[in-house]
């Protein structure tokens, strides 16, 4: 039962990254690539009707985490207090930027919220990557110093960085050179992903420039992925035991690599959606690889005093998980129905939609 909820949680988070990920990527493209009003409008039209429903996946995944693994929710949310608050504030700026820019027709007003939307998207992509890095690297659960726990077992607190930016230091920070590399992986991945979504959803002039850009960024991404795999092995040498023991788990890295390598053909794709499929495969594959190699650990402990949080010691009781599954299945079916309806109503290119002009 715990394993089932682990899988549900991973699927929900992966869905969130694939869906809201293109919103962040579109935000980055909007900020750094789009260079006139028509192009910016094409970008906001492409994500306008979707971003809000996409963000719900984060809220829903948070809710599931809360009730299925309450101890993990409490420990990680209080321990990662500062980055989570920054994420909340950035989500506010992202939403406000998107929703308010069209409300007043004034060039300064529009540029102000364009920048808020763009910068917030960029920083969110960076923070989510760094967050993944923190979970992979593990934290000092129970704040152990000289072999003595200063706090109750599952609790900890990390400042934004420590002076050395060293992931192996006793006093860790959220941002160190390892989590920063994963943050960059996330920014590049989502930029490619967002660019692919814009190509799929618009006929803007920007599409012609996006294809070569995706090709170049994909080269950078390939390099960063190899680098981060090596760093990962250095920071957490046991990370690959699951993959060594269970051969079928290699499906995840293979899916990820298929997407990554396939993306290099971006200039030859006939259909506008193929690039988006490739970047989605890469996201699902790499996130799946991470989850598969961590299982059953949810948050590793970096000391030998406090045990890591696993799906067994952090979960709710059996009855709660079972009864939760019943309503969850009903709700999940409904959600799929809503999404099908939504994608059918807003199918095709959205250049004509007057997003934000209401």
């Amino acid at each position: 039962m715990e394993t089932l909820w682990f899988i549900i949680l991973v699927v929900m988070l992966a869905t969130y990254i694939v869906l809201d990920g293109y919103d962040f990527g579109a935000g980055i493209v909007h900020f750094l690539v789009a260079n006139n009003e028509a192009e910016r409008k094409a970008v906001t039209n492409a994500i306008g009707p979707f971003w809000d429903a996409n963000e719900v996946w984060l809220i829903a995944a948070g809710g599931v985490l809360f009730f299925a693994f309450p101890t993990l929710y409490a420990s990680s949310f209080s321990g990662f207090y500062l980055p989570l608050m920054l994420v909340l504030w950035l989500l506010i700026f992202r939403a406000v930027g998107l929703e308010l820019r069209g409300q007043v027709h004034n060039r300064l007003w529009e540029r102000l919220w364009d920048r808020a939307f763009g910068m917030a998207s960029l920083l969110l992509a960076l923070f989510f990557g760094a967050a993944l890095g923190n979970v992979v690297r593990g934290v000092n659960l129970g704040v152990v110093e000289n072999g003595v726990a200063q706090q109750e077992a599952p609790y900890f607190f990390l400042p934004l960085w420590n002076p050395t930016f060293d992931p192996l230091a006793e006093h860790q920070g959220i941002i160190d050179w390892f989590t920063l590399v994963l943050g960059l992986v996330s920014v590049i991945t989502l930029t490619i992903h967002g660019a692919n979504w814009i190509i799929l959803k618009s006929n803007s002039t920007i599409n012609r420039r996006l294809r070569p850009l995706i090709f170049k960024l994909n080269g950078v991404l390939l390099f960063l992925v190899l680098l981060s795999a090596a760093l990962w092995y250095y920071v957490k040498p046991i990370a690959f035991t699951n993959l060594e023991e269970h051969f079928w788990l290699w499906i995840f890295p293979i899916i990820g690599l298929t997407g990554l390598i396939g993306q290099f053909n971006i200039k030859r794709f006939k259909r506008d959606g193929t690039g988006f499929v490739c970047s989605s495969l890469f996201i699902v594959g790499s996130f799946g690889t991470t989850a598969a190699s961590m299982y059953p650990v949810l948050l590793p402990s970096t000391n030998s005093v406090s045990p890591s949080l696993t799906i067994y010691n952090a979960s709710a009781n059996e009855y709660g998980l079972t009864v939760g599954l019943v309503w969850f299945i009903i709700a999940a079916v409904l959600v799929i129905v809503y999404f099908i309806i939504q994608f059918r109503v807003f199918k095709g290119k959205l250049d004509e939609l007057d997003y934000g002009g209401h």
């Binding site: 306008g48 009707p49 979707f50 809000d52 429903a53 963000e55 719900v56 809220i59 829903a60 948070g62 809710g63 599931v64 809360f66 009730f67 309450p70 101890t71 929710y73 409490a74 420990s75 990680s76 949310f77 209080s78 321990g79 207090y81 500062l82 989570l84 608050m85 909340l88 504030w89 989500l91 506010i92 939403a95 406000v96 929703e99 308010l100 409300q103 007043v104 704040v143 706090q151 109750e152 609790y155 900890f156 607190f157 709710a316 009781n317 009855y319 709660g320 009864v323 309503w327 709700a331 409904l334 809503y338 999404f339 309806i341 939504q342 109503v345 807003f346 939609l353 997003y355 209401h358």
Partner: protein, 444 residues
Amino acid sequence: MEDMILYHRLQFAFTITFHYLFPQLTMGLSLMIVYFKWISIRTKNEHYNDAAKFWMKIFALNFAMGVVTGIPMEFQFGTNWAKFSALTGGIVGQTLAMEGMFSFFLESSFLGMFIFGEKLLGQKLHFVTGVMVFLGSWASGYLIIATHSWMQHPVGYEILENGTFVLTNFSALFKNPWLLPSYLHNQAGSLITSSFFVSAVGAFYVLSNRQKHFGQIFLKAGVIFGCIASVVVAFPTGDLAAKNVVNYQPATFAAMEGIFETEDGGAEIVLIGQPDMVNKKLDNKIAVPNILSFLTYQRWDAQIKGLNEFDEHQHPTNIPGLYFAYHIMAGLGTVFIAIMLVAAFLLFRKKLYDSNWMLWILMFMIPFPYIANTAGWYTAELGRQPWLVYNLMRMTSGVSPTVSSGNTLFTLLGFVGLYLMLGLLFLLLVLKIIRRGPEPLLTP
């Protein structure tokens, strides 16, 4: 330690108070928009369709504010109240996760279609998307109040040796006697905010002699909905909610009503008076004898327990705060009934649109339903203190152990600044939408 808990409490109180300014309008307004849309389809009156579209703009803005200020609420259970989350997450997490899965997906998917899809969908399907948005927002309220009810009156749980609350009976969460009265009371309160808002905008248009036709449509709908909601919020829903407090939290009830001593021969209802916590009495009290006994037990001489009957550590933490919150809510509620009954009478006699004095009153009522709803929530929350889970878990044992006072003050100040900015932007844009009105072409 004291500072740390204070900042955690202030941050939650500030962010939830600000957040609930938005859902209280959207929940009621979604019902009124569905009503406008329904009338437009039934009567083929295009004005009602324009009215629905106009309120949709205000709804969308409020909804966006509600979403962005709502996500921090869910996160703060974990970030600021980690121990509470760890110990009760298997139960409160259940209803909160259901809210995400059942209502947020419903609302957010169909809202996009309702805003952008009128041409793509046709009138009838467009109406259906509106109904879906309404259902989503009311389901969200239901699941939040289910969570709230469990904290006020815990049911269906078992406490393990390590203090963890585990769920033993899922359906008990929804059969909780606290749930239905609180939910209906809250939804009626939400409908009061939206109907006063709609009638105030209507009064503004009629008084300023522009968009008069829409002004009259808004006034009519606002007064009809407002009249029903103002009565329902007091009776039966407010009455039933109060009886729950009498039964399950008698010390809280005594503090709300300002009863320091049990009185023989029936309890009086206090209208005015300031609690003096040192001498345990009310200053310059105005009260009507025996009414409270009658309202509570339908007997003039029924006994109601005063605070003297309860141990000090069972008393609510902030008795004056609780007393004022309750009296502000109940006092304003009475004013709402009076105004809406008179307005409905004028509407029935077809004199409302020419009664300038009443239109001025309706226009200036805009802030008061917000105050009453907020005061109502403060009554419920202050009434539960010092407990997080009534009688079982104290507020002080729920806080995050590792988040220091400095870090909490930092984020509290951040929220204050950010929300001030959001509030100003919101006011600016709402006023802009109202100024433009439903018929942009006719305004200069």
